[in-house]
Symmetry: C2
Subunit: 275 residues, 2 copies
């Protein structure tokens, strides 16, 4: 049985509705650090064994959680656990910065970039392109039913980057007018499919139909070493509107043939993962 403090963090991770794979991975790494503060020896080893199942089970779609649980060794030494968890956090931060640098180069002057939902990697690319002095416009979806697009809008507002917000159903209409599509990913499967907020697949299809290049941005810890697109278990969180139950799968799967490239901290994988 994991200590109460850790179970609280896991519960917080499970109930998070807006933030994605990167946030979850950071929170998971913090859970390991908290564990290293609480336990040592055999107790720590047992807890780490439990974490190997508990952390990926928070959300099976998230490759970041799977990779985090593999990154931390099972040991009785709390110093090792703390050091590895801190290394994971540091590598993740470096990865995001580097994705910004690499992805920022993809944005040309006067680009119209369409995106869906909120990805911290995509935001990092927008920041880097802004720092490079590029002028571009972002078209973003409100991203129903949790409206995380509006959180992205607030960030862009702070950065002074012009944007327009659309309903999810207009992804096709506005893909036609865009020059580049950039989305995040919660998981890039072994066969190169991009698992991301439901609606991403529709954007990819519309981009394909209109010749707009479609890229996903993902730290390498989001590349899943085992899972294929057929194995993806999609998490669902139904909700009610006007007394009706609304189906609500959080993610969909975009096959690699619609993805121009996956922007990672090591470079752009084209086609995904076949470097």
């Amino acid at each position: 049985m994991l200590p109460q403090e850790i179970r609280i963090i896991l519960e917080e991770m499970r109930s998070e509705r807006i933030r994605g794979a990167s946030w979850l991975a950071m929170k998971g790494a913090e859970a390991y650090i908290a564990l290293a503060d609480l336990l040592e020896g055999e107790e720590l080893e047992n807890a780490l064994r439990e974490m190997k199942t508990e952390i990926p089970a928070v959300n099976r779609t998230m490759a970041s959680l799977y990779n985090l649980s593999r990154f931390i060794p099972v040991t009785g030494n709390p110093e090792v656990v703390r050091a590895k968890a801190e290394e994971f956090i540091r590598l993740a931060e470096e990865a995001r910065r580097e994705i910004g640098n690499i992805g920022g180069e993809l944005i040309d002057e006067n680009e119209v970039v369409i995106t869906h939902s909120f990805s911290s990697a995509v935001l990092e690319i927008f920041k880097a392109a802004g720092r490079k002095g590029k002028h571009f416009k972002v078209v973003l979806t409100e991203s129903a039913p949790d409206y995380e697009g509006l959180a992205l809008a607030r960030e862009l507002e702070k950065l002074g980057i012009p944007f327009e917000i659309i309903t999810d159903a207009q992804l096709g209409l506005f893909a036609e007018k865009a020059t580049l599509a950039l989305v995040g990913a919660d998981n890039v499967t072994r066969d190169g499919a991009v698992v991301n907020k439901a609606g991403t697949y529709l954007l990819a299809l519309a981009c394909h139909d209109n010749g707009v290049p479609f890229y996903a941005a993902a730290e390498s810890f989001k590349l899943h070493p085992v899972m294929t697109s057929r194995d993806v278990e999609l998490v669902e969180r139904p909700y009610a509107r006007q007394g009706h139950r609304i189906r609500n799968y959080l993610f969909d799967v975009t096959p690699w043939r619609y993805v121009r490239g996956v922007i990672t901290e090591f470079g752009v994988l084209v086609p995904p993962k076949e470097i």
Copy 2:
């Protein structure tokens, strides 16, 4: 200047947010009948000339309004106006029934039919298939931001037809699991494109990608004799959410290459309008 009574009806038509092309056409025909009750002779002729611009201008996307305004002759005789308006209504009702009969044949036992937004022609098909004793399931979108999908859900509930409601962003996910797609149309352009609620194009793309046949149902008065897909003026009704302005084009345009057929009262047009 049109009489106050008529201007009120036109205003009601302009401000209607949920109901589509069929409802607007019926309401427009009622406006003509009201006009015939109020005016005659030269006054009626002048008003009818004004209606030729006013009725299509209510919503330029709607072929039904364009065709209605051409259906009613400019005359001083109120009896002629009333008779033609009533004929339009009768033909429209017959057309919808016949579309139900023809379209109902397309639904096989255990079909999973995906649709988007609320179309009275599609509802008629569901009713007819139900009367024929067929068992099938409907997957429908809530259709943000006005949620007209929930109005369809209430109709299906009354009819005892099983259904599931999804968010618009899940159209891709659920198209994969569907066996047939049926949508309405506010306009079928001269080059066969289907103008319908924004998001329809995304559904068509997802159906194409998954080999699911995609049909539109439209009374013949929704076939536009002049407008091509390039001429479509898309009506926009932006709204605010959390202090942000949200772009909101009501319609998008699905090119004929993604449309298996258009179900009209005369039969199924395959490819659209090339009979």
